[in-house]
C-alpha cells in the first residue's frame, strides 16, 4: 500500500508544485475537451450496452419463453402461450423438489465444512509461524483451478481399484480399496461432491477469514489481556464477533456459487447415480439441452434467479447489520 503511494508520488510529483509558470485555475479548461458528464456517460456506456445485450435482453427473452411451450429443437412447432403452467408444473414437481434437497444438502454441508476448516486454518496461519506465507500460497492453489478440470481428475482419484483416494482410505482403515465406490455408491455419492467442493473451496473461506483476523487491532487483545479475559473468552467476545462480517461474506459468496454449481458436479458424477447428485443446475441443463423443454426450463431459470437474487438481498442486509454492530 505504502509502496504504491510512493511510486505515485514519483510519477506525478513534477506536476504538483506547478513547475509550469503558475497558471491560473480555469474550470473552462475542461470545456476544451468534453464535459465531465459527457465523459462519464461515454465511459459507462460500453459496459451498460454489453450487459444489456448479453444479460438483460436474454433475461427478458427467458421470461417471455417461460410462459410458452417453446421447444428450441423443434422450431417449426407452433409456439403456444401456456400462461403460468410451467411455473405451476415446476413448483409441484416432486423430482424437482428432490433436486432442490440434493442442492441444499450439497450447499449446507460443503459450506459447513469449509467454514470450520477454513476458519480453523485461518486461526493457525495467523500465528505467523516461519514460512506461513509460502504454505498459505500452497493451500490456496486448489481454488484457482477450473472446477471442470477438478471434477474430471477426481474421477481418476476415486477409481475403486487404482484410484489414489480409495487406496489412501484403505491404507489407513484396512477396508479393501475396491469395496467402495465414491461415485457409484448411492450412500457415498452425495458426500463425494461435498468432499471435492470442500477440498477446492476451503482455502477461499480461509483467505477471507484471515483478512478478518488481521483486521483486528492488537490493542483490543491487549485490552482483553489487561482485563484478564481468558483465551476462550477473548475468542468468543473479540475474535469471533470481529471476524463475523468476513465469515458471512465468505458464506454468502460460497452459497451463491454452490447453489449454481454445475461444472464440477457435472464432470464428477454427472448427477448420478440415478439422479442422486443432480443439483438444480444439472436438472436445468438436462431439461434445456437434452430434453429441449425450452419453455419449461426458462421458467426454472427464472425461479432460480429469483431465489438467488432474493436470498442474496436478504443476506446482504443481515451482513450490513452485523457490520454496524
Amino acid at each position: 500500500m505504502n509502496a504504491r503511494i510512493v511510486i505515485a508520488d514519483e510519477a506525478v510529483a513534477p506536476v504538483i508544485p506547478g513547475t509550469a509558470p503558475a497558471r491560473e485555475y480555469r474550470p473552462a479548461a475542461r470545456s476544451a475537451g468534453m464535459s465531465d458528464r459527457g465523459i462519464a456517460w461515454l465511459f459507462i456506456a460500453p459496459t451498460i450496452v454489453l450487459l444489456l445485450a448479453v444479460n438483460i435482453f436474454p433475461l427478458i427473452w427467458t421470461i417471455r419463453m417461460s410462459f410458452t411451450n417453446f421447444k428450441a429443437n423443434m422450431g417449426w412447432l407452433k409456439v403456444r402461450n401456456v400462461g403460468i403452467d410451467n411455473y405451476i408444473d415446476i413448483l409441484t414437481d416432486a423430482d424437482l423438489w428432490s433436486g432442490m434437497q440434493t442442492t441444499a444438502h450439497f450447499v449446507f454441508w460443503s459450506i459447513l465444512f469449509e467454514v470450520l476448516l477454513g476458519f480453523g486454518l485461518a486461526l493457525l496461519v495467523n500465528r505467523r509461524f516461519r514460512g506461513h506465507s509460502f504454505w498459505t500460497t500452497i493451500i490456496l492453489l486448489p481454488m484457482m483451478l477450473s472446477p471442470a478440470v477438478v471434477g474430471n481428475f477426481w474421477t481418476f482419484l476415486f477409481q475403486p481399484q487404482a484410484g489414489l483416494f480409495n487406496y489412501a482410505v484403505s491404507f489407513f482403515s484396512g477396508i479393501p480399496p475396491s469395496s467402495f465406490q465414491m461415485i457409484g455408491d448411492v450412500r457415498l455419492a452425495p458426500w463425494t461432491i461435498v468432499l471435492v467442493d470442500t477440498w477446492m473451496w476451503t482455502p477461499y473461506v480461509m483467505l477471507i477469514c484471515l483478512a478478518g483476523l488481521r483486521s483486528i487491532p492488537d490493542s483490543i487483545y491487549e485490552a482483553a489481556e489487561v482485563d484478564r479475559a481468558s483465551t476462550w473468552r477473548t475468542f468468543w467476545s473479540v475474535t469471533l464477533p470481529m471476524v463475523m462480517p468476513f465469515l458471512m461474506l465468505a458464506v454468502l459468496f460460497r452459497a451463491i456459487e454452490n447453489f449454481k454449481m454445475f461444472d464440477m458436479v457435472n464432470l464428477l458424477t454427472n448427477g448420478g447415480p440415478g439422479a442422486l447428485t443432480e443439483t438444480v443446475s444439472i436438472t436445468l441443463k438436462r431439461a434445456a439441452f437434452e430434453k429441449w423443454r425450452t419453455g419449461w426450463s426458462s421458467a426454472l431459470a427464472i425461479i432460480l434467479f429469483l431465489a438467488v437474487f432474493g436470498a442474496a438481498n436478504i443476506y446482504v442486509k443481515a451482513l450490513n447489520k452485523v457490520k454496524q454492530r
Binding site: 436474454p58 493451500i139 477471507i208
Partner: protein
C-alpha cells in the same frame, strides 16, 4: 521489559504455539496438494503404470501421456508394421511398441489456441471497457450510482445454464454458435462486472489530488485520466486482467453448451481425451498439467491481490 513481554505474549504467539500451528498447517497443505501432485506424476507414467495397483509413486519416466495428447495413432496390420522403416522420434517409438503408428497431430494444439484467443480477447475487452466504466463510477457523479453498481454485480447471480438458454438461441440466430466472436463477447460480459468492481476499488484508492493538479495545469479530463490515473492504476489493471484471464481460461458451462469444434476451449475438451477403453489417463493428466501450470504461476504472482479478486473487491487488505 516486563511490559514488552506482556504485549508480546498477547499479540505475538509463543514459540510453542507457533510450532504446533505451523505443523498443522503444513500437514494440511501437504495432504491437500497431493491430488494435484498425483496428476502431475500421472502425466509422466505409462498407461499401465497410471492404473497400477497398488498405485505407483515412482515409476518409469515416460512421456507417453504427452505423446498421446498431441498425436492420433492408429492400429495397423502386422505386415504393414513389419514393412515400416524404423521409427523417427520418441513418440513414434512409443506408438510402435504398442503396435500403432502415428496418424497425425491431434486436436489439442487447436483447442489450446482457442483457449488463448478467447481468453486474451475477452480479457482485453473486459479490462478496456471496465477501466473506463470504473473510472467514471469512481470520479463522477453518476445518477443511481449504487443501483448501477448493484446491477453490474447482479448479472453474476444468474446460474450460467440459465443464461445459456437464451444465449444459445440468440447465437443460433446470429450464427455465433461455436465462434470466437460469440465466446469472446459472452466472456467479456461476464468478466466486465468483475473488472468494474475490482478496478473501481483500485481507482478509488488513487488520490484525486493528482488529477486535480493536472486539471489545474490545463490538462483536459481525458488527458488527466490517461496521464495521471492510468499509470497509477497499472498494478490494479494487471491484477484485474489476470483474474479475467483465469475466469475465461477455466470456464466450462458456456463452453460445453455453446461450442463443439471450431471455438471449443480446453475445459470441455480435456474430459474427452480418450484412448482404448475410456479416458486415456496419462494423456488427460498431461493435458491437465499443461492447462493448470499457467494458473499456478499466476496465482503465485497474484497472491497479494487474491483476496480482492475473489470477493469482487469487497475485502481489501
Amino acid at each position: 521489559m516486563s511490559n514488552t513481554m506482556t504485549a508480546h505474549s498477547v499479540v505475538e504467539a509463543s514459540a510453542w504455539t507457533k510450532w504446533i500451528a505451523g505443523t498443522l498447517v503444513v500437514v494440511y497443505a501437504l495432504v491437500m496438494i497431493t491430488p494435484l501432485l498425483w496428476i502431475f506424476l500421472t502425466s509422466f507414467k505409462t498407461s499401465q503404470d497410471a492404473i497400477a495397483y497398488p498405485p505407483k509413486v515412482f515409476s518409469e519416466l515416460s512421456l507417453e501421456g504427452y505423446c498421446n495428447l498431441f498425436t492420433i495413432r492408429s492400429h495397423q496390420t502386422q505386415e504393414f508394421m513389419a514393412a515400416l522403416p524404423p521409427p523417427d522420434g520418441y513418440c513414434a517409438r512409443i506408438a510402435r511398441e504398442q503396435n500403432m503408428v502415428i496418424a497425425g497431430p491431434s486436436k489439442t494444439p487447436g483447442r489450446l489456441m482457442n483457449s488463448l484467443v478467447i481468453g486474451f480477447g475477452s480479457t482485453f475487452l473486459a479490462v478496456f471497457i471496465g477501466t473506463l466504466a470504473a473510472y467514471a463510477l469512481s470520479r463522477f457523479k453518476v445518477p443511481l450510482k449504487d443501483d448501477l453498481m448493484f446491477f453490474i454485480l447482479s448479472t453474476r447471480f444468474m446460474p450460467p445454464i440459465a443464461v445459456a438458454i437464451p444465449i444459445y438461441l440468440m447465437f443460433r440466430q446470429a450464427g455465433l454458435l461455436d465462434s470466437y466472436l460469440g465466446m469472446i463477447l459472452l466472456y467479456t460480459s461476464v468478466n466486465v462486472s468483475l473488472a468494474v468492481w475490482l478496478l473501481k476499488g483500485f481507482i478509488d484508492e488513487i488520490p484525486r489530488e493528482y488529477e486535480e493538479a493536472a486539471l489545474v495545469d490545463g490538462y483536459t479530463r481525458l488527458q488527466a485520466f490517461v496521464k495521471t490515473v492510468l499509470p497509477q492504476a497499472t498494478t490494479g489493471i494487471a491484477a484485474t486482467a489476470v483474474f479475467c484471464l483465469i475466469f475465461s481460461w477455466n470456464e466450462y458451462a458456456f463452453a460445453v453448451l455453446l461450442t463443439s469444434g471450431n471455438a471449443q476451449t480446453m475445459p470441455p475438451f480435456i474430459p474427452f481425451i480418450i484412448g482404448e477403453g475410456g479416458q486415456d489417463w496419462p494423456a488427460v493428466a498431461a493435458a491437465t498439467t499443461l492447462f493448470v501450470i499457467p494458473i499456478l504461476v499466476f496465482t503465485v504472482l497474484l497472491r497479494k491481490h487474491l483476496l480482492r479478486g475473489i470477493t469482487f473487491g469487497a475485502v481489501r487488505k
